[in-house]
């Protein structure tokens, strides 16, 4: 049944039937372009990745062809020390940066929530790290942590905390610290914004009632506000966990500055290098499936959580 303006007057079908029939077709028409774009550009390549992971395909060894090896590359992967290191790095950075972004992000949200004269400015300061291109964030912080002339070193030396400039990016332990700080700076905004949304949904009367009952501000925060924020915190956590597992741009820029850092190689960076630098498309696909699997696991937790919340 057509639902365009011109046709409706000529079809005096019963109202309820007309609407339901129209809704089905109209919905399909409205959803089709989105479905086409998502399937063509995301779903199809994803399915290709699964197929590719079963074939050897090294551009550096074209004479070998593309033989089918089944799960052979998966067996190779679970014994690949570089993969295991990258996976460990990813999870290690994930725990530190997700935790860090909550420690910084929640106070940021509380500050941005309370009305103040500099609210607009505070909001811009809150949004900037989120909106900055990740690769540019990586460049900026590589400069801040520069081993000779970096401003971080300058502050530490002037404050008398260290005697001479630290080689942040070429000392393994320090490089990790620098990268965690960078990622926490970049991602705390996101946590803060989600939490801010949660704060805006809390009725004023509740905190005022606690206030009247003589609760201190700290008590009100722990007993009233935090429990009400639980859903926002859960959403922020899942999205942060996903982005932490997939992190690429910032480690990539840091590694450009300090090439010998195996400690900074995340799963995303290893996949990139396997595909673009080693031109091993088959194995890159296998590694990609591993990354899908980790992402999917986190997504499923999210979906369960959201469904649970609705039901």
């Amino acid at each position: 049944m057509r639902t365009e303006a011109g046709n409706v007057g000529t079809a005096p079908a019963p109202r309820s039937r007309r609407r339901r029939g129209g809704d089905g077709l109209l919905a399909a028409l409205l959803l089709a372009p989105a479905a086409l774009l998502l399937c063509g550009v995301l779903l199809f390549p994803m399915l290709t990745t699964f197929r590719d992971s079963l074939f050897v395909n090294k551009l550096t060894e074209p004479w070998a062809g593309t033989p089918f090896v089944g799960l052979g590359q998966y067996a190779q992967m679970v014994q690949d020390p570089r993969f295991l290191t990258a996976l460990r790095n990813t999870l290690f950075f994930g725990v530190l940066t997700v935790g860090g972004s909550f420690l910084v992000g929640i106070p940021m949200a509380l500050l941005a929530h309370t009305p103040s004269r500099v609210r607009g400015l505070a909001r811009v300061a809150l949004l900037l790290p989120w909106a900055m291109p990740p690769v540019i964030t990586g460049l900026i912080f590589a400069w801040l942590f520069n081993g000779q002339y970096g401003v971080v070193n300058d502050v530490l030396v002037r404050a008398g905390i260290v005697g001479e400039p630290l080689r942040w990016l070429s000392t393994p332990g320090l490089a990790v610290v620098a990268m965690v700080i960078t990622i926490v700076w970049k991602t705390s905004s996101f946590v803060a914004l989600i939490v801010l949304g949660g704060l805006q949904g809390i009725p004023r009367e509740l905190t005022e009632a606690a206030d009247v009952d003589g609760a201190t501000r700290v008590q009100t925060f722990w007993r009233v506000i935090l429990p009400l924020l639980a859903p926002s915190l859960a959403v922020a956590f899942i999205f942060r966990a996903i982005s932490a597992v997939q992190v690429f741009d910032i480690p990539y820029t840091f590694i450009q500055q300090a090439p010998a850092q195996g400690l900074l190689e995340t799963l995303g960076v290893y996949i990139y290098r396997t595909s673009i630098e080693f031109l091993d498309f088959g194995y890159a696909a296998t590694l990609s499936v591993a990354l899908f699997a980790v992402s999917l696991a986190v997504t499923l937790v999210y979906v369960r959580f959201v469904r649970g919340g609705e039901g």
Partner: protein, 280 residues
């Protein structure tokens, strides 16, 4: 509109310090790039660091454009980001309308799928997308970036728009339809104008995502005159040399559109990010 809560002195001091730290922390890295971009290479190689440039020098900005075709990079980013945004929003608005307004039995499942799509790792799609673009002969063209950017931001745009559409009372449409308007008429004349702020918000999110994207731009458009700014800023570094004043100037130019959008539309960004739950 809102009354400031009663705060005692120590609370006010803590809050003022916190706000100062927040503003400083948010702005400092960019301010530092701005200061660096005005220094000379020699001035930079001093320790202790000299904080302000002794003679602010804009020569680095001229060099950004003379050493690389940065104007072309900038135009490429602008074209790609604007067209991705237009495509994404044009596709997302009808889809979000259907998901929030029409009776669809599989609504919950469809929304779950949208969320799942928003969580796909881009780096995992790199090789298959590269081959897709190559076989379609799109490498080193704008569509090679526009199509994936629109698709990658589509879930976020749909979820944001669904949140905005759902906030518009259904009675408004019902009233229009009782008065003889059609479903499509009610959609275009009642719902869309009311959801314009939501559309603007979704568009802003897509634009920022597209402007910032690095990996696909790095891999798909490798010809120098097809580069975008996010890749362009990395082209000033040599094998071992990092000309920081030059890189800083490029960085400052590259983020101008982002900073302007944030400053002008801060409320819309906050609304969009708090409405849906958007990818970090």
């Amino acid at each position: 509109m809102e009354q400031a809560p009663r705060l005692n002195l120590s609370e006010r001091v803590v809050r003022a310090l916190g706000l100062a730290l927040l503003v400083f922390g948010g702005f400092f890295p960019l301010v530092w790039m701005l200061l660096t971009s005005l220094k000379t290479e020699g001035e930079l190689q001093q320790f202790p660091v000299q904080y302000l440039p002794s003679q602010p020098d804009v020569a680095n900005y001229a060099r950004v454009f003379s050493e690389q075709p940065f104007g072309t990079f900038f135009m490429n980013s602008l074209i790609v980001s604007l067209l991705s945004t237009a495509l994404c929003v044009a596709v997302a608005v009808p889809a979000a309308y259907a998901l929030s307004r029409l009776e669809i039995r599989a609504r919950g499942l469809l929304l779950t799928l949208v969320v799942a799509f928003s969580m796909l790792p881009v780096v995992s799609l790199l090789v298959p997308l590269f081959r897709l673009m190559r076989s379609a002969q799109l490498l080193n063209t704008y569509p090679a970036l526009i199509l994936p950017y629109a698709a990658l931001s589509l879930p976020v745009a749909i979820l944001t728009l669904v949140a905005f559409f759902s906030a518009i009372p259904r009675d408004l449409e019902s009233a229009a339809m009782v008065d003889g308007s059609t479903r499509v008429g009610a959609m275009t004349r009642i719902v869309l104008p009311l959801s314009l702020p939501g559309v603007v918000t979704a568009a802003l999110l897509v634009f920022v995502n597209s402007w910032n994207e690095f990996l696909l731009a790095l891999s798909f458009n490798t010809r120098l005159n097809m580069r975008t700014v996010s890749v362009g800023v990395t082209l000033y570094q040599g094998e071992f040399a990092f000309p920081w004043p030059l890189i800083s100037a490029a960085v400052v130019i590259a983020v101008v559109p982002i900073v302007v959008l944030i400053a002008v539309f801060q409320k819309r960004f906050v609304a969009g990010l708090t409405a849906g739950g958007v990818k970090a």
